[in-house]
Point group: C2
Chain length 325, copies 2
């Protein structure tokens, strides 16, 4: 028997002065209400409501207990309401990790709008060019270019696909000449972003023609800004998402190369741990980011994004460490 319901029957009976009315209010039969109240009195070994078929009144014990259990029922309702509400109204701290470039160019600029929508939610951006372990780093959300996670409990959701470009400084081109064909790249100094899929094999296509070039990196890094700085210094030809170097190109400090050829797109994903009930903050952030990218995307940087979860493991899958309370 639900002991809370016993307290509710007692409280409501005292309030309304009638077991029958309490039963009606609590949507149960008179018999059930009578049994709940009797069970409570038996458990406490005391008569709480002295009553007959015509009248009833609280005993002294009943008076005292009523005050206490009314308070308790209110507090419980408030506690349960508060905790249910927080599932709908995200608050606390959200920890996001992404590349430095993505953080600078996309995450930071969009935060004011996000915070305006969710004032109780703090966002901490961890710019990292390695993939930290979710658990160890306390990461809620990661923006990543890789499409698969070794951890089966991580959900990967596509944000979109980005164009990439080949570009070099004018000084480099003056010194080493300009590549006219994809095959020429094999003889050039290449600056590679090693977090891309198969970064040392480059596939370019023009119309129906396609060429795959194996390149030997002069420098490879997991940091887009490092690669950008090296290219600006004339150390070689970079291949990077357009969003990172668009400003340099417009300023004439980097010259785009083989612009008639198309490079493979870079898929950008958001990843988070799958949970029985996804915390609201992760849900709202993901939705906001995807929508923000979609609304502010330029065709030259982003291809049309499709909302798609590429991998959803079973609900019981977890890979997490017990935290000290």
């Amino acid at each position: 028997m639900d002991r809370l319901l016993q307290l509710e029957v007692f409280s409501k009976t005292a309030e309304l002065g009638s077991l029958s009315k309490a039963a009606e209010t609590l949507r149960m039969s008179n018999a059930a209400a009578s049994r709940h109240l009797s069970a409570l009195e038996e458990r406490l070994a005391v008569r709480l409501i002295e009553r007959n078929t015509r009248r009833q009144w609280l005993t002294e014990a009943g008076h005292e207990f009523l005050q206490r259990c009314s308070t308790l029922l209110n507090e419980l309702a408030e506690a349960e309401g508060a905790v249910s509400d927080r599932a709908l109204s995200p608050n606390g701290m959200l920890r996001v990790t992404s590349s430095l470039s993505f953080a600078m160019i996309y995450l930071a600029p969009m935060l004011p709008a996000f915070r305006a929508l969710y004032p109780k939610l703090s966002v901490q951006i961890i710019a990292a060019n390695r993939y930290p372990d979710f658990i160890e780093a306390g990461i809620d959300v990661a923006i990543r270019t890789r499409e698969q996670e070794p951890d089966s409990s991580i959900v990967v959701r596509r944000i979109g696909q980005m164009r990439r470009v080949l570009a070099a400084a004018p000084a480099y081109l003056a010194r080493r000449g300009r590549p006219e064909h994809p095959a020429d790249l094999a003889r050039h100094d290449m600056l590679i972003y090693n977090h891309a899929n198969d970064p040392y094999s480059l596939r370019l296509s023009k119309g129906s023609a396609a060429e795959t070039v194996r390149i030997a990196p002069t420098l490879d890094s997991n940091d887009g800004q490092v690669i950008r700085a090296a290219a600006l210094a004339g150390l070689g030809i970079l291949i990077q998402p357009l969003y990172i170097v668009q400003g340099d190109i417009l300023a004439g400090q980097l010259m785009p190369l083989l612009v008639d050829w198309e490079l493979p797109l870079l898929t950008m994903n958001i990843a988070y741990q799958n949970r029985v009930r996804l915390p609201a903050k992760i849900r709202v952030f993901s939705d906001f980011l995807v929508n923000h990218i979609r609304e502010h995307s330029h065709a030259r940087i982003w291809m049309d994004a499709t909302r798609q979860t590429t991998h959803t493991p079973s609900n019981s899958g977890r890979s997490i460490r017990k935290q000290n309370p």
Copy 2:
């Protein structure tokens, strides 16, 4: 499902860091504990404890809810404990009514010893020479001489039987002569206590002889002290419980009459409303009074009392008015 048990499972799991340990502590199976916790999370629509088979930790919502429900569980245990304790440790106010004489001679003198035993219980003695309605007067206990109650919900329990005496002032006897035989009483001025059974018919016995005398009261009253005062003033012959006039007789102010003859005993009862669970204060007071009378009775005043409830109606019988909270 017992919602309080759900809270207990959650609280204990958080405390011990393991559903299995919580189950063991709460003496239930692992399966049951798992279901209770899941049911609570479903009811609140939020994950309280993130967990897998190897580790678990509180979510933010879980942290907040744990603080609140730990408090609630403690408060409820305290409330239930307090109300159960009061059933064992009577407190509050007990209202007792009796005749003025009984109050002065028996109740008041025994109160110090009673209060020493039950310091939290206040006793209010309502000296009355009429029988007030239990409900209207808020009476808990009544000391009465009548043996039956019109209200079937009232329990009557015998305290004992008291000797009665005939006595008159010397001045009256000098003026009117001394009755030598019960029949002589018919020619005397009689002072009658009208709360006795059949107060106008007097049956006296000596050995195997018995005489019944019909007497016409010069004065009758429901107050023993009024009758006593009239006798002391020489207005007539009284018949009263010995305990009321013993002091006057010893002082020579009243002369006992027809002392070889025995008068009918006066039955003294305690009465209270029958209840499913008799409030502790009524129970302890009744027991104390009966035991006190037994221990301090003098053969000359009390005959041996027998513990006996003369009428116990069915438990559902009540005659009470709903009180405003």
